[in-house]
């Protein structure tokens, strides 16, 4: 019951993302899983057929078989691994910087009224800014190297983490804070044992959201003047009408996105074990 309260009202304009749900999909049984692969396979087969029959010209969209062959080529030539490394580096750097800023500011704003009045208005105003619209300014300020790309990712990451962590801290059940007082916990112990663990579920929601926008920000950032990375590979391919390379790039983007999401889910399962056992009963 207290979990519901913990997740409860998130104060003001903050909107929480979807709560991590009990793993009902797996509960329904993995045996039925193959059903879900039928329709995608049919689509791919139709696509292949259309390409082979010449209904779908390769300059618009390459055939699945061609895409698979190109993917193998790109891996063999080392183009794809290099591009992935460069892009991953940008995302990781940007994510680390953004997460540090977002969570740090949320702690400042969440743990004191003074911090809130100092930090929150600014964050709420910046949040309203369309951050992709900042690209021209970023180029003016930081040139066209790695810095604006990493910073764009950092900026994108920091907001969901800030908003959710802040809401998580403020959403901690006041009744538990009272318990802490009757147990004579000091302020540091209150923060450590009650506030931070209580804010964690919401922070993890923010983490998943922020990883989602991190990849999005990377894709946008890599469209501008990149000379390496997945975005560069895709732009380069466009010049030569290589739709197969473009699709390979897109598939890699989504695979990386799914991978990081799976990592967060894993983290959630470990960190929220106290809740999982309850939900799976």
């Amino acid at each position: 019951m207290s979990v519901v309260e913990l997740q409860g009202e998130l104060g003001g304009a903050v909107r929480a993302g979807p709560r991590p749900r009990p793993r009902s999909a797996t509960a329904r049984g993995p045996r039925r899983g193959w059903h879900r692969w039928v329709s995608p396979l049919v689509v791919v087969l139709l696509w292949q057929l259309a390409s082979t029959l010449g209904l779908l010209p390769a300059r618009l969209l390459a055939a699945p078989s061609q895409i698979a062959a190109t993917a193998l080529d790109l891996v063999g030539l080392g183009t794809l691994p290099t591009a992935i490394t460069v892009s991953l580096e940008r995302v990781l750097l940007g994510f680390a910087a953004g997460a540090l800023a977002g969570v740090g500011l949320a702690l400042v704003a969440g743990l004191s009224r003074a911090g809130e009045s100092a930090v929150d208005p600014i964050m709420q105003m910046l949040r309203a800014l369309p951050f992709f619209g900042l690209i021209p300014l970023f180029i003016l300020w930081f040139g066209i190297g790695e810095t604006p790309k990493v910073l764009l990712v950092a900026l994108a990451v920091s907001f969901p983490l800030y908003l959710n962590t802040f809401a998580g801290i403020r959403g901690v059940d006041g009744k538990l804070a009272e318990v802490a007082r009757t147990l004579r916990l000091g302020r540091a112990a209150l923060v450590r044992h009650i506030v931070l663990p209580g804010a964690l579920p919401q922070t993890l929601v923010g983490l998943r959201q922020s990883l989602g926008v991190a990849w999005l920000a990377l894709i946008v950032a890599e469209q501008i003047n990149a000379d390496a990375g997945l975005g560069y590979m895709i732009n380069d391919a466009r010049e030569f009408l290589r739709t197969d390379v473009i699709v390979v790039g897109l598939l890699v983007y989504s695979a990386l996105g799914l991978l990081t999401d799976a990592l967060v889910r894993l983290l959630e399962r470990r960190a929220l074990v106290w809740r999982r056992e309850f939900l799976s009963r």
Binding site: M1, S2, V3, L6, K175, L176, E178, V179, A180, R181, T182, L183, R184, L185, A189, H193, I194, P197, G198, L200, V273, W274, R275, E277, F278, R281
Partner: protein, 281 residues
């Protein structure tokens, strides 16, 4: 699991229990709501006060909930506090727990205070044992916690997550968390009201056992007249912001609700609370 043989309460545990069996109800000190009882009239019985309240006043806006309330709780005494809903029972308890900083008047508590709330308020992300050791400053807190859990019949649930406990188990864990601190004054805020009838009987016995074993003074806030009659040495009725009535219960424990003294007292209590057996007055 907690169905333990009730330990007969001996006179050494509580100085106001005379143990002279037959148990007469030593009458109503005052029946007039406008002539508040100074609860210290009984203080002469023996021992020193564990809590002394003088002229306690609490206002919420224009509403005065506590109006110059006086109360003395003796060491080891079991006091039940009754009152209609909104009469300020919980306000008084919160003041004694140190959770209300806006009360006016004298409030002195000698020794440590522990609270068990209506909802068990266990910290959901801490295992049951870690809930007990939270803020516990004694040598070998873990060992103390295990011992306390064994005492309430939860030895095998020490490593469980609170959300997996049943209502009765959670309430027992909450009692253990309060008692492991060896409080001089144990505040119980309707801790049995959310339990089903059978569990409530078990937990009533458990509370009496624990009280007999550890000998804290207990202030039980309740709206259940029978509960007060079964458990308490002294029953207070809060009305108009003051203690309007007071009864001493001398019937020997374990008590049966059809004990003639209790039946007499029950009628008096109900009428003091504005209820007649046929319905509201």
């Amino acid at each position: 699991m907690a169905a333990r043989v009730p330990v007969p309460v001996s006179g050494t545990v509580n100085s106001t229990v005379t143990g002279t069996a037959t148990g007469t109800v030593t009458g109503t000190v005052s029946d007039a709501a406008d002539a508040p009882v100074n609860a210290s009239v009984n203080a002469s019985v023996s021992g020193t006060a564990v809590a002394t309240v003088r002229g306690l006043t609490r206002r919420f806006g224009d509403r005065t909930v506590l109006d110059g309330l006086d109360l003395t709780i003796e060491r080891g005494e079991f006091v039940a506090l009754l009152g209609r809903s909104g009469s300020g029972k919980s306000t008084l308890l919160r003041a004694l727990a140190g959770l209300d900083e806006e009360v006016e008047g004298g409030l002195e508590v000698d020794g440590s205070v522990a609270v068990a709330f209506q909802e068990p308020r266990l910290v959901p992300w801490k295992r049951v044992r870690d809930n007990l050791t939270l803020g516990l400053n004694v040598p070998d807190p873990a060992g103390r916690a295990e011992a306390a859990l064994a005492e309430v019949g939860l030895a095998d649930r020490a490593r469980a997550w609170p959300l997996t406990l049943s209502g009765g188990e959670a309430q027992r864990a909450s009692l253990a968390r309060a008692l492991v601190r060896d409080p001089g004054l144990l505040l119980l805020d309707e801790p049995f009201s959310a339990l089903d009838a059978l569990t409530r009987i078990t937990v009533h016995r458990l509370v009496l056992d624990l009280w007999a074993a550890h000998g804290p003074a207990v202030l039980l806030v309740t709206h259940d007249v029978d509960e007060a009659l079964l458990l308490a040495d002294r029953i207070l009725v809060l009305d108009g912001g003051r203690l309007a009535h007071e009864w001493t219960v001398t019937a020997p424990r374990p008590r049966h609700r059809d004990h003639p003294d209790l039946l007499t007292l029950r009628a008096a209590l109900l009428s003091a609370l504005g209820v007649t057996p046929e319905g509201p007055a």
